[in-house]
């Protein structure tokens, strides 16, 4: 892990009088990194801080060597929010053509990302008529436009069928192989095995950061979920 994609120092975020993140320190490198933890533990807040859309109270976040949210980064980060952030009343292709124009990209790029998320058959369907899984894939396709150096994906595989989930994880790995850093959050522990690196998070605190294998080894168990429970009990 020589190149650090994300560097978080003493990050503090307070929302509604409650410190969601309190002086968090973190380094994330290349490959596919899974941010795992129960809902409400601060995953989305951390991802939003990395993308630079979260108001923070203290600390520093540097992404690809620049301060998070800086102008130079806006071309280089693909971001998928938890809700499918696409226009319901446009077709998949119209959505992608619009975001591609905003990024200054051509129509070839639209075809490429439609194929990447396997939506070619639905390209001319209006988004509101798609299933939940298809909508989130349309939203993911937007993030793939322009082959960003960092992908920040907030629970992109929720509610998808197992075949599709496997295909998307393969896609994340091929993007990582091509040189991108991929940060994926999930509250489903069985997705942990698919990541190169894991961040286990609870109540705004990182309990462990390591490969899935080493996390399991250290706890002496066979699955990440049990290792997580073990870490929680040891911290208590």
């Amino acid at each position: 892990m020589t190149n650090i994609a994300i560097d978080v120092r003493q990050l503090t975020v307070v929302r509604r009088g409650h410190a969601v993140l309190d002086k968090l320190d973190l380094e994330i490198g290349g490959g596919v990194t899974g941010l795992l933890g129960p809902s409400g533990c601060g995953k989305s807040t951390l991802l939003r801080s990395i993308v630079g859309v979260q108001r923070t109270q203290a600390g520093e976040v540097r992404v690809l060597g620049e301060p998070a949210g800086s102008k130079q980064l806006r071309h280089r980060i693909g971001y998928v929010t938890q809700a499918a952030s696409v226009y319901d009343d446009l077709t998949v292709a119209e959505n992608l053509r619009f975001f591609a124009r905003v990024l200054g990209l051509g129509p070839d790029e639209v075809d490429r990302v439609v194929d990447a998320v396997d939506l070619a058959d639905q390209a001319d369907a209006v988004v509101s008529e798609l299933s939940g899984g298809q909508r989130s894939r349309a939203s993911l396709a937007v993030a793939l436009l322009g082959t960003p150096d960092l992908l920040v994906l907030d629970e992109p595989t929720v509610g998808l069928d197992p075949v599709l989930r496997r295909d998307l994880w393969n896609l994340f790995h091929s993007l990582a192989d091509a040189g991108a850093a991929v940060l994926v959050s999930s509250h489903v522990m069985d997705e942990a095995e698919r990541c190169d690196q894991l961040l286990l998070m609870r109540d705004g605190v990182i309990l462990a950061q390591d490969t899935p294998t080493r996390i399991k080894q250290r706890a002496g168990v066979d699955d990440v979920e049990t290792a997580f429970l073990d870490l929680v009990e040891r911290a208590a």
């Binding site: 949210g69 929010t81 809700a83 226009y87 905003v102």
Partner: protein, 245 residues
């Protein structure tokens, strides 16, 4: 600011509108129907009544319709996460606002041409000044409505709240714009209030255009309307935050 991005936003908003046939029909047909209704109401009274109320309505309809449409669409954009996504991309706030203004300005121009055409061509509204200037004032009113709608969308959390801003912000302007009581005859305090409300100037411009051929007052009123529009857009831009809590 980047013209490519501004046009991308405008094109996208127009595509969305084109798909929504019902909204488009309401935006184009309802003003014409209401003006015809007004004409019909006054048909058996003396003919000057329609000439008195018609111009004010020509100023009001584009303003109200655009206020509603813009406040709801931008609220949706804030709520759905698409705004957050756009602001994480290389999109200037000005591109976003101007894109909306261009798209709705075009629709407003079409709406105003239809409403003015029906009023002047079919219903016999007497216009002493140039008809194109009447249309231009109507377009400016529509863009003003868009700017204010954009502004209030920042203060509403739901579409239900956004609609409530209509009686709160728009109806007082309608009451005080000189339609019911000429502004000079209002109690002093209310006259002073009406002097700082943009719709008063829009209605003044329309009434002047129907009464006289001299246009210098109209340009002055138009300048005030445009100043309010720019102010609304500037405040609207301040409510678009890249970072939110």
């Amino acid at each position: 600011m980047n013209p490519r991005i501004t046009l991308a936003v405008a094109g996208r908003v127009l595509t969305q509108l084109r798909r929504d046939h019902r909204t488009l029909a309401m935006m184009l047909v309802v003003p014409c129907a209401l003006i015809s209704l007004l004409w019909w109401m006054f048909k058996d009274l003396d003919s000057s009544s329609f000439d008195r109320f018609g111009p004010a309505l020509l100023a009001m309809f584009p303003f109200i319709v655009m206020f509603l449409v813009t406040s709801i669409t931008t609220l949706r954009e804030r709520a759905s996460g698409t705004l957050e996504r756009l602001l994480a991309m290389p999109m200037g706030k000005g591109d976003f606002l101007l894109g909306y203004a261009v798209a709705f300005g075009l629709v407003a121009a079409l709406q105003s041409v239809l409403a003015v055409g029906v009023s002047v061509g079919l219903l016999g509204l007497d216009v002493e000044g140039p008809v194109w200037l009447l249309t231009l004032v109507a377009v400016a009113d529509a863009v003003l409505g868009s700017a204010l709608g954009l502004f209030v969308s920042a203060f509403a959390n739901t579409e239900f709240q956004a609609v409530q801003f209509m009686p709160a912000l728009v109806l007082p302007q309608v009451l005080l714009c000189g339609l019911f009581v000429p502004r000079a005859l209002l109690p002093d305090v209310l006259e002073a209030v009406s002097n700082v409300l943009p719709l008063s100037y829009a209605v003044d411009a329309m009434q002047t255009l129907t009464r006289t051929a001299s246009t210098s007052d109209v340009w002055q009123d138009l300048a005030v309307v445009l100043a309010f529009t720019l102010g609304g857009l500037a405040v609207g831009a301040a409510t678009l935050r890249r970072r939110t809590s």
